[in-house]
Amino acid sequence: MTPQEIVDRLKEKFGDKVLESKLDGVSPWTEVDPAAILEISRFLRDDEALLMDHLELLGGVDYKDRIEVVYVVYSMKHRQRHILKVKLPRENPHIRTVESVWRVANWHERETYDMFGIVFDGHSDFRRILCPDDWEGYPLRRDYVFPKSYRGMPV
């Protein structure tokens, strides 16, 4: 299926939950409504024509006015890939977890929380993964200030 066909199939099922898409670059992407991410993910995994059973990457990108969460999904059977994006506000970003759809999202979402501060509602084991548990701040945000010391050790 071409990227345009994938977007059309999503639009016919979800209508206005599928927002803009950019399909002419090297990696085509589609933006969706954050409230519908769980249903769209389940549809992508279970639909016969799409069968996107492999979540390749789940990450965050901090733009100046918003934070985006990027989902790169791939179908092992049909050999096709698509990128989904979700735009969230910078203060207090919340989104549903897709852990029940792809098990690997568990760790990816913990890392995105650790680095950007995005809260994934419904996550089974919600805590930091890379930085220590008592770390302050979200390091990959653009306005992050490096700490002077941590537990007596200079940084």
């Binding site: 670059g25 090297v26 990696s27 992407w29 059973d53 492999h54 979540l55 390749e56 990457l57 990450g59 990108v61 901090d62 990027v70 790169v72 092992m76 050999r79 890939r81 990128i83 792809w102 098990r103 690997v104 568990n106 760790w107 680095m115 930091r128 993964i129 890379l130 930085c131 220590p132 390091p139 990959l140």
Partner: protein
């Protein structure tokens, strides 16, 4: 695996400093004596802020940092990053660069699998395969050192080309090494792979079913050990791998159920033979040319984003690069194969004994630099 659990649960710590955890990994084991209820991995002890550095240095300057993620197979990391940037900019490299990159990547794959096999033998208690594997690996490191000056972390793949060309006589030295090395794999099989104790310790342990593997995003030899025949070099080829003739070994469950530690290990040994085939074909087809002619004067991709994945020795490494039109990347996100393999660890190790935990960690072949970035 259904096991009768009885008695009190004790929390044991296989801490960051441990001879068998392949790096600074902390495993919290909830055990009732010998059988483990739950093994929770804690990572982050080697978090070196790669993604923050990548936002603050220019595109070519990210390559040494990318090296240091999976430090056992540095050529493959660099290759993944460089191919992603070239895809974003639309640069095509000439045939000599392509073939040299393939030769270096496959030699690196052989060296990395030798480290995996040697340290796995060491974990299981046998010291001789470790010394044999490292001795054979030294010849490969000599070949790398004469080309680019470094043994372990190379900075060799550049955006659009390579750092140095090979010295005269390199092809003969590579063929001489392969002729010397291929019979030694049989030695390794006799010594370690089909050894009765090794098979007993690994064959029925750490079963990973294919559905669990795909849902957990496990890739590479770990996925192929569970019977799923998927290799990025065959299914989404890059760099011209479709011109080469090689096989993709898959775990068959020779001594127990498919997806055990033994299957993952034996897939790696068989991949070493396949890599030798690829190197021979690449050396035979090497054409003359200039390796630096494709390098642009200023690396300034147009605004956009790209996702590119390559087959590293540990699985598929994916690079998601966002560019805003400047000379420094806006965001580089790395999906490392060991991170997803470790996320499946809790499922694989349910009901195992404490000695089996060591076998499972070794069979996943993790490198903490890649997990923590």
């Amino acid at each position: 695996m259904d096991v009768e659990f009885s008695g009190d649960i004790m929390t044991l710590n296989m801490g960051p400093q441990h001879p068998s955890t392949h790096g600074v990994l902390r495993l919290e084991l909830k055990t009732d004596g010998e059988v483990v209820h739950e093994a929770i991995p804690h990572i982050g002890y080697l978090h070196r802020c790669f993604e923050k550095h990548a936002e603050n240095v220019e595109y070519p300057g990210v390559i040494p940092f990318a090296d240091r993620m999976d430090y056992v197979a540095a050529m493959s990391n660099e290759l993944g990053y460089v191919l992603a940037v070239e895809k974003l900019m639309g640069i095509q490299v000439n045939d000599r660069v392509r073939y040299l990159r393939i030769i270096m990547a496959e030699l690196n794959r052989i060296a990395s699998h030798l480290v995996a096999a040697g340290t796995y033998g060491l974990d299981m208690g046998s010291f001789t395969p470790f010394v044999h594997c490292f001795r054979d690996r030294e010849t490969i490191l000599d070949l790398f050192e004469e080309t680019c000056g470094a043994r372990l972390l190379y900075n060799y793949n550049w955006i659009g080309g390579l750092m140095f060309d090979i010295l005269p006589g390199f092809e003969e030295r590579v063929i001489k090494f392969l002729d010397h090395f291929e019979p030694l794999v049989d030695d390794l099989n006799r010594l370690l792979s089909y050894n009765y104790i090794f098979v007993k310790r690994t064959a029925n342990v750490g079963i990973l079913t294919p559905e669990m593997a795909v849902s957990h995003g496990v890739t590479g030899p770990n996925l192929r050990g569970s019977g799923v025949k998927f290799d990025v070099r065959k299914d989404e080829p890059y760099l011209g791998y479709e011109e080469f003739d090689f096989d993709v070994p898959v775990g068959k469950g020779e001594y127990g159920p498919v997806g055990s530690c033994f299957d993952r290990y034996i897939v790696r040994i068989r991949e070493v033979i396949e890599s030798c085939k690829i190197v021979r074909q690449a050396v035979a087809g090497l054409k003359p040319g200039d390796i630096q002619e494709g390098i642009p004067k200023r690396i300034k991709p147009a605004a956009g984003e790209v996702y590119m994945r390559t087959e590293c020795p540990r699985g598929e490494m994916g690079f998601y690069i966002v560019s805003d039109g400047g000379t420094k990347p806006y965001r580089v996100k790395v999906k490392s194969p060991c991170f997803t393999a470790m996320s499946a660890f809790k499922e694989i190790s349910r009901g195992a004994m404490i000695a089996d935990i060591v076998a499972i960690v070794g069979s996943l072949d993790i490198v903490l630099g890649e997990i923590d970035r």
